[in-house]
C-alpha cells in the first residue's frame, strides 16, 4: 500500500461510511476489481454475532461488563532450520488464537486495574485454560468456542474486580489518579487475506547449502540458520463497534554462529533478513557472501585480544545506537511505566523539558513500512486494541513531547496513540513500534572518527572504542533495581590516536540512561536500521529502531559473561568414515 492512502485516511473525517467507501474504492481500484462491497467473512460474522449475543446476555448478570473485545489471530507458519549443512527441522503449522478483553466496573476503575504489591504470577492462571479455537470457518463451532472463552473470562474478571476494590482501599492513595480505560471512537478497516506460497523443498536445500561452509572450521562450535515464512491475519471486534481485519505475510532468515576462543569465551555473530514480500529475501549469492563474511569475522574474533573494563569516548555505529536507544530510551517512554509506582518513571515529569541534546529528535511511527530501502518490522496499520496506528513525536529538538500510549490513560494523556500491543496470550500494554532517531546536524563517518580521536587525546586516553555490531540488550526499569542497561556488542574495535583500528573481544556496553544521554556529542549521516523482537510485560512483539552513528564522550564497558566450559576434549570427528 502506498503512503498516499494512509495520508488520505488521516484527513478524512471520522465518518464511518465515508471512510469505508473511500478506502474500499481505492482498494478495489488498486486490485482492478469492480465489486460492489467487501466480500463477506464468515469468521468475522460469527465473531460479531457471538460478541453481541454474549454482551447482551451478560447484561442480565449482577455486574455486567461494560466492554468486550475479541481478537482472533490466524497464523500459518513454515519454519525450516539447518546446522552445519544438515537439515535440523522443517515444520508447517497453522494456529488460531483468541485474545479476549472483558471489563467490569467502569472506565475509571475496572478489573484490569493493576494490583499493588500483588503476586506477580497471580494473573498467570488465566492463561492456563484456553479453549482450542476451530481453525476451520464453521460458524457454530467458532461461536461455541467464543462463548466458552467469554464465560470463563467473565468469571475471572468478577473475581479480579473484587481484589482490585480491596487493594485500592488497603493501599495508600495512588500518585496518578487517571482512569483504567480511555474512550476511543470505533473504527473499521479491512485488508484482504494475504496469499501465501512458499517452496519448502527448495528452501530446505537453500538452507543446507547456506550453513555448509561453517562446518569447515573447528573453531566454530555452534551454527544455525532458520527461515520462517508466515502469513498472519488478525480480526478484531469490540463492543464499541470497531471491526478490523489485517493480513500480511512476513519472511525472516536468521543465521547464527558461535566460535570458541582458547580461554573458553564464546563469541556469537548473527545476521538477519526480513521482508513483508516473498521476493524480499536475499538470493543465494548474497547469502553466500554474508556467510563467508561472518566466518571471516568469527575467525578474527577468536584470535582478537581481550578488551579491558574501560570508560572513555566511543563511536556507536547506527545499528549499535539503535539498540542503545531502544533499551535506554524506548522502554522509558512506554505509557504505563509512568503510572506504575514500582517503576522508576525516569521521564514522568519531564514533558516539555530537555532530555536529549537539542540536535536530536525521536519519533515512533508504526505506519512506516520501510526506511531508506530497509523494511521495518515494527509496522502495523492498527494496534491490538483496534486503535489506528499513527506517528508519535516523542522528542522534538531534545524536548520530550509524548509517551507511547495504549488505551490505558496516564496523568496528562487521556487517549491512546495506537501503541497498544501484545503477543497472543498477554494483556495489551503500550509498546514500541518503529523508533527513529534523527539528527539535525550530521557529519561523515570519517569526520566522526576524527572527532573521536580529538576526544581521546583531550581525555588523555590510550584509545577509544568503536562498536560496530550488537546482538541485543536488556534494561531494568523498576525502582528496586539500578536502572542500568546492558547492550551486547559482537564486533568492537579499539581506535588509536594514530587512526589504527584493532578488533577486540569480551565486553558489554553498560551505563545508566540519564548520564548516557548527556554525553552524546555528534551524529553521522549513516542511518541504519535494527530489526528485532522485544520482550516485555505483554510478551514478544516485533520492533525496529533506526539511528545514525553517534559519538559519545564517555561510555563504560564491563567484562562479558564467559563460559567456564573447556573446549571439547577430542578433535571434531572426520567427515567421512575411515576404513
Amino acid at each position: 500500500m502506498t503512503p498516499g492512502i494512509f495520508e488520505l485516511q488521516k484527513e478524512v473525517s471520522v465518518n464511518y461510511l465515508r471512510q469505508f467507501c473511500v478506502f474500499a474504492l481505492l482498494l478495489f481500484t488498486a486490485l482492478g476489481l469492480s465489486a460492489q462491497q467487501v466480500p463477506s467473512d464468515p469468521v468475522l460474522t460469527a465473531m460479531q454475532q457471538e460478541l453481541t449475543r454474549s454482551f447482551q446476555n451478560l447484561k442480565k448478570a449482577p455486574m455486567p461488563p461494560y466492554f468486550l473485545s475479541y481478537q482472533l489471530t490466524d497464523n500459518h507458519a513454515i519454519e525450516i532450520s539447518s546446522s552445519f549443512g544438515a537439515l535440523t527441522g522443517s515444520n508447517d503449522h497453522i494456529t488460531r488464537f483468541l485474545d479476549l478483553d472483558l471489563r467490569v466496573g467502569d472506565y475509571a476503575l475496572d478489573n484490569t486495574h493493576p494490583l499493588r504489591d500483588a503476586d506477580p504470577y497471580g494473573d498467570m492462571g488465566d492463561q492456563m485454560d484456553r479453549p482450542q479455537i476451530p481453525l476451520e470457518n464453521d460458524p457454530d463451532a467458532l461461536r461455541v468456542a467464543l462463548w466458552q472463552a467469554t464465560e470463563h473470562k467473565y468469571r475471572n474478571a468478577l473475581q479480579r474486580l473484587q481484589k482490585v476494590k480491596a487493594n485500592v482501599q488497603v493501599k495508600v492513595e495512588a500518585e496518578d489518579r487517571s482512569g483504567d480505560f480511555s474512550h476511543e471512537s470505533p473504527d473499521t478497516y479491512s485488508e484482504p487475506e494475504a496469499p501465501f506460497a512458499f517452496d519448502t523443498a527448495a528452501w530446505e536445500q537453500k538452507l543446507r547449502k547456506c550453513t555448509a561452509p561453517f562446518a569447515q572450521h573447528k573453531e566454530i562450535i555452534e551454527n544455525s540458520a532458520e527461515v520462517i515464512a508466515e502469513v498472519e491475519t488478525r480480526r478484531y471486534l469490540n463492543s464499541d463497534g470497531s471491526q478490523i481485519r489485517i493480513s500480511s505475510p512476513f519472511f525472516r532468515i536468521i543465521i547464527s554462529a558461535t566460535a570458541k576462543a582458547d580461554d573458553g569465551m564464546e563469541l556469537p555473530l548473527h545476521q538477519t533478513y526480513m521482508s513483508f514480500r516473498p521476493d524480499g529475501l536475499p538470493d543465494d549469492a548474497t547469502l553466500n557472501q554474508d556467510v563467508n563474511r561472518m566466518i571471516a569475522t568469527l575467525l578474527q574474533l577468536v584470535k582478537a585480544p581481550l578488551a579491558e573494563p574501560y570508560t572513555g569516548p566511543a563511536i556507536l555505529s547506527g545499528r549499535a545506537s539503535a539498540v542503545f536507544f531502544h533499551e535506554i530510551f524506548g522502554h522509558r517512554i512506554e505509557g504505563q511505566r509512568q503510572k506504575n509506582e514500582d517503576e522508576a518513571q525516569t521521564f514522568k515529569k519531564k514533558i516539555n523539558q530537555s532530555v536529549l541534546p537539542d540536535f536530536l529528535s525521536v519519533y515512533s511511527d508504526p505506519t512506516l513500512k520501510a526506511l531508506g530501502g530497509t523494511e521495518l518490522v515494527g509496522y502495523y496499520p492498527f494496534d491490538d486494541e483496534g486503535v489506528k496506528a499513527r506517528r508519535v513525536t516523542v522528542v522534538d529538538k531534545g524536548i520530550l513531547k509524548n509517551f507511547l500510549m495504549s488505551r490505558a490513560p496516564i496523568e496528562g494523556f487521556d487517549h491512546s496513540n495506537g501503541h497498544g500491543r501484545r503477543q497472543q496470550g498477554y494483556k495489551v500494554v503500550a509498546r514500541q513500534s518503529n523508533l527513529v532517531v534523527e539528527s539535525a546536524k550530521q557529519v561523515s563517518r570519517a569526520e566522526l572518527k576524527k572527532q573521536l580521536i580529538e576526544q581521546i587525546k583531550a581525555a588523555n586516553k590510550p584509545y577509544g572504542l568503536f562498536f560496530d555490531d550488537i546482538e541485543g540488550g536488556f534494561t531494568f526499569t523498576q525502582r528496586v533495581l539500578p536502572n542500568a542497561f546492558n547492550v551486547r556488542p559482537t564486533v568492537v574495535y579499539r581506535v588509536f590516536p594514530d587512526g589504527r583500528e584493532e578488533l577486540v573481544r569480551g565486553v558489554d556496553l553498560i551505563g545508566t540512561p540519564l548520564i548516557a544521554f548527556s554525553k552524546i556529542l555528534a551524529a553521522d549521516d549513516q542511518v541504519t536500521v535494527f530489526n528485532g523482537v522485544c520482550g516485555a510485560e505483554s510478551g514478544w512483539v516485533p520492533v525496529s529502531a533506526a539511528s545514525p552513528g553517534l559519538l559519545v564522550s564517555q561510555i563504560e564497558v564491563q567484562r562479558k559473561e564467559k563460559s567456564q566450559e573447556r573446549a571439547p576434549i577430542l578433535p571434531p570427528p572426520p567427515a567421512v568414515r575411515e576404513n
Partner: protein, 600 residues
Amino acid sequence: MLSMISNKMTRKLPIRAQLFFLALGVLLTGRSHAQDDVAIRAMKDELSRSISQIQLQKMEKPYFLAYRMDDMNRTTVAATLGSVTEEQPARVRLIGVEIRVGDYALDNSNYMSLRNFGGGMFSSIRQAPLDDNYQQIRRDFWLATDAQYKKALEDLSAKRAALEARKQTDNTPDFSKETPNTESESPEKTQASLQQLKALARAISAVFRSTPDIYSSSVDIEYLNSYTRYANSEGSTFTRAQPVFKLQINAQTQTPDGVPIADSIQLFGHTMADLPAQDVLISRTRAMADRMLKLRSASSLDRYNGPVLFEGDAAPEVFAQQFATGLMAVRTPLSDDPRFELFFNQMMSQLGGTSFVDKIGGRVLPDFLSVSDNPLEASYKGVTLLGASRVDDDAVKTREIRLVEHGVLKTLLATRVPVRTVPHSTGSRHGWGPTPSNLFVVSEKSSTSDDLRKELLRRVKDRGLDYGIVVRHVGGGSAASFMKMASRMARQGAQGGTSLAEVYKLYPDGHEELVQGVEIAELTPAAFKDIVAVGDTPVVFTDEFIPRVGALFSLGISATSDVPVVSCVVPSLLFEEMSLVKSQGPFPNPPISPSPLAKQ
C-alpha cells in the same frame, strides 16, 4: 530396505517366502555392515572413538557409554463440533548420551545435587539433524558426549565426597551387568494421512452438535511413528519401530448446580487400522453423550461404605491407576544433603503412590490372583496389546516376568538400576525408568458377570445397605491424573477430586440408577487385598504410563522415547469394601448464557 529382515515379517509370510527371505538374509549377513544405515554407522563410529579415546587429563575414562537416537514422526489432529482445531505434522530427531565413569559398583549415577536439578538433568538429550548426514550426526554425538563426560566426572567426585561424609549401609551396585543383545527391526511404513485423520476427527466430534447441554467436547488424534537406534560400549545394538496411534474423545459439562461431569473414550493401536470403524466410534460417542445428559439430572450420594464392583473397562483402569504403580522398583538417589533423601521418599510417594520395594515375599493380593508382565504377547483375543517389544530401552532382552503368584509379590519390574531386592534388569526400561509392558491379572477362580452381581447384592443385604455400587468407567487416566496433580499443586485451592465417570447404584431388585458427582475417597494398593471375586472375561485397557519420577536421577533422561504406553488385561473385580464420597467443591458457576447451539 530389504536388508532389514525383521522377525515381524517372517511370522506373517507363507513358508516359501520365508525361505526366500532367509536365503537373502544369509547372503546379507556376510556383509553385516550393509545392514547398518548411515545414522547407525555414524553412532557406532563415534561411540567407539569416544569410549577408547576420551579422557580429560589424568582423570578416569568412562567404563560405559550408550548412544540413542529417536526419529519421531508425529501427526496431531484435534477437532470440536465438526471443525478442526489443530493439525500439526511434526518431525524431530532426538539423540541421547548415557555415560558412566567409575565402575559398576560405584559410578556417577543415582546421585542428586542441586546442579542436577532442572536444566542439568535434561542436558543429555538434544536435537539432531533430520538428514542422515554422517558428519553432522557424529558431530552432535561428539559434543553431547564431551559435555556429559565432564558432568559425569564432576558428579562422581561430588558423590565420593558425599559418601566419605557418612556411613553407607546400602552396598547395592549402581549399574547391573547384563548380557549384551542385538535386535533389529525395520521402520513402520504406515504414514498418517492428514486428510484421513481430519475427516475422522470431524465426523466424531460432530456428534456433539446436537447436544448443546454438553458444554465442551473435543476429539484428539495422534499418530506417533517413532524409530529408535541404539548402540552401547558393551556390544549391544538395536533398532526398533514403535508406531502408536491414539484416539481420545473428551466431553465436559455441568449439572445445573455446577457439579462437573466429565467422560472420555480412549483407544490405542499401532496404526489407525487397529481401531474400530468410524461408525462404531460414532455410536459409542453418542452413547457416552446420552449418558452424560442423563447424568445432569441424576441423583448423587453423600457417602457409601460397602462392596463395589468394577466391571468392564473400570477394572483394568483402577488396576493400572492404583495398583500397577507399585510394581516398579525405584531407587533413592544419594545426595550431598542427607535430608534430601527423606524428602525424596515423601515426594515420590505423593507423586506416584507407594512402591512395593519392601514387600517382596509379602502378600499384596488375595491368594487366587496372580499378575505377570509379558512384553512378548502382541494381542489378546484380537485386541492389540501396545506394550509388546523384544527389547527394552537398555537393549535388555525382554521376557515374561511373574510379578505376583497366588497373591504373593515375587519381584518388581526393574531396569539396570538395581535396588536392594531386585539385583537385575527385568528388561523393563521404557523412557526414563521402569514401566510395565502388558500386565495380565489371572485368577484361579472366576464368576460370570451375573454371578458377580448376585454376590455383590448378597453382601449388600448382609451389610443392611439399600444398594450396592457398580463402576463401569473410572475416567481420568494415569497421564491425565499426573497432569491434574501437577496443576493442582500449581494452583492452590483448585476444585475437588475427579468424579467417577460412570457409576451406578445397583438395587436388590436388579435395577440400576446412574449417580453423579461421586469419587473414591481413598484407594491405596493395600485395598486390592480386599478383592473377593473376579469376572471371567478380562478386558484390555491401554493408557499412557508415566515412569516413576525418581528414575530421573538414575541417568534416566538419556532415553528419549515418548511417554510409554501400557496395556492391562484384567477381569471385573469385586471389592469387599470401599469408601465413596460426594465430590466437594467449590465448583465454577454454570454458564450465564446458554450455548449458541441451544434451541431458543
